[in-house]
Symmetry: C2
């Protein structure tokens, strides 16, 4: 692990050195290090690239870190990670991908994460994406996140694209059974000529299911973003989608949500707003002594922080 | 004009007898009666079915009624009506279509209305759709409404589907130039096995353009509705889309709005809500002495009225 590795791990997983608890660190397509615990077992897949993470029933207040870093130019990988979480758990899963591309070839990580969350289990999933490097090669990340929530289970997906990702295609699907709850906090920053697309299906599949999507994005420079958040009410549940986007420079943003009420007792709400930062917000901070740029940065940090 | 004609005209255009001002009444595919005024001239098209309506510059506080009624079963018509509205006008245009179908064949009216609204002109366009009749034949109406607003012009589109329309495909497009303003009030009721689709493009094409869409719908019984309201910010303008839908019986509703910010100073907002009437709203009215059905009707009238 060199200085670049350490910086990438800090950015994407808030790690200083080795994580506590179970972990699996992947570097340049290879297993760098792994640790299991009494309740959490990580097993390499044999039929394709990726790992299975088994979390025993009743596991509480434990975490698993599975960050991925790429520092080679021209590396292109597709990884399948499956999470089997027993009933009555309360766990935090920290993923994330950092690419340092110093060369002129595209480095790409595509991750397909599938979660099977047992009855009454509670999961927080944290995923950060970050790219850097002086090379001209692109940094691409295409995550797919699929979640099946059993009765009474809940998941909070905190997914963040920090910066430096040239192209991303994100797909998220959550199937929410009775009395289960899904919360998706998506944060996304693009700059330069980057492009980002985020597609999402939250399916309220059982009575009392609830889904909430909070998507916040900032598009700077010439970057382009497009969002397709879809909330499908197949049962007597409650769904709320909220998209807020800040336009800067000459960026372009599209938000195309869809509410589908297939059940007479589905209750669905959507709100979206796209616009520049309000001038009076900046002025207010400037009267407190900040420069215009500092004020803007302060507002963005508050918005995406 | 018989009793049925009179009732249809009352439903769709609030008319008791002959309208004041300019008018063109179409019945079963034929001109029934027409009246021009000094400022408003109605001319039959020669190349296809339909009329051209010319409104002179500076025409103020005048109205034109162009209702369409169909009482024959099996009649299927496609009509093009073009409105040329000079600058500095302030006029009300009342359209609408009523179908009484007593037979077993489909009766269908498809109307393509195009409005060229001159600089600083103000137009209110009122259109109501209504179907009735003891026959098994379907009543179908597919309206297309296309509006070009010159600088500083404004239009308010009040379009309502009252009831009795088995199938509708609505398309509305408004191009809003600088300092112009478009307001679209759409109200739509479906019942039985009816289907309704409404697609809309509001294009903010000039600086200071503003667009506002307020769509309210009620879907009863087994009926199905789908909405595609799209707000496109190609200039420094303001767009707001609001969709509220009430689900009843076993109806299904989809709302798929799209906000597209192509200009860094476009400001776009969308809100949508789909759900049943809140139980406490009904209870409150029942404590005032209404039955449950009366309470529901009261709420729907308030919502669509």
């Amino acid at each position: 692990m060199n200085k670049i590795d350490t910086r990438l791990l800090r950015e994407i997983a808030d790690l200083e050195g080795t994580p506590k608890g179970a972990y699996n660190i992947r570097k340049n397509g290879q297993l760098e290090s792994r640790s299991n615990t009494a309740n959490i077992e990580i097993v390499s897949k044999t039929d394709k690239s990726g790992i299975d993470i088994h979390i025993k029933a009743g596991t509480k207040n434990q975490s698993v870190h599975i960050p991925v870093i790429i520092t080679e130019t021209g590396l292109d990988e597709l990884v399948y990670n499956d999470f089997y979480i027993g009933p009555d758990c309360d766990v935090v899963i920290v993923a994330g991908c950092g690419i340092h591309n110093a060369g002129d070839k595209t480095s790409q990580h595509d991750g397909v994460h599938t979660f099977y969350v047992g009855e009454n289990s509670k999961v927080q999933y944290v995923e950060k994406h970050y790219g850097e490097g002086e090379g001209t090669g692109e940094r691409i990340m295409n995550p797919q996140t699929v979640v099946y929530l059993e009765k009474g289970a809940s998941i909070q997906l905190d997914t963040t694209q920090l910066r430096g990702v040239d192209s991303t295609k994100r797909y998220t699907k959550v199937v929410v059974k009775e009395e289960a709850e899904a919360v998706v906090n998506e944060k996304l920053l693009t700059h330069g000529k980057q492009v980002a697309e985020s597609e999402m299906d939250v399916i309220l599949a059982g009575e009392g299911a609830s889904g909430r999507v909070i998507s916040r994005s900032v598009a700077q420079d010439e970057s382009q973003q497009i969002f397709y958040p879809r909330m499908i009410g197949d049962a007597a549940g409650f769904g709320h989608v909220q998209c807020d986007s800040i336009l800067m420079g000459h960026a372009k943003i599209q938000a195309i949500p869809a509410l589908t009420a297939n059940h007479p007792d589905a209750q669905l709400i959507h709100e979206a707003a796209i616009g520049r930062i309000a001038g009076d917000q900046i002025l207010k901070l400037m009267t407190l002594g900040l420069t215009e740029e500092e004020a803007e940065e302060e507002i963005l940090n508050g918005f995406l922080g």
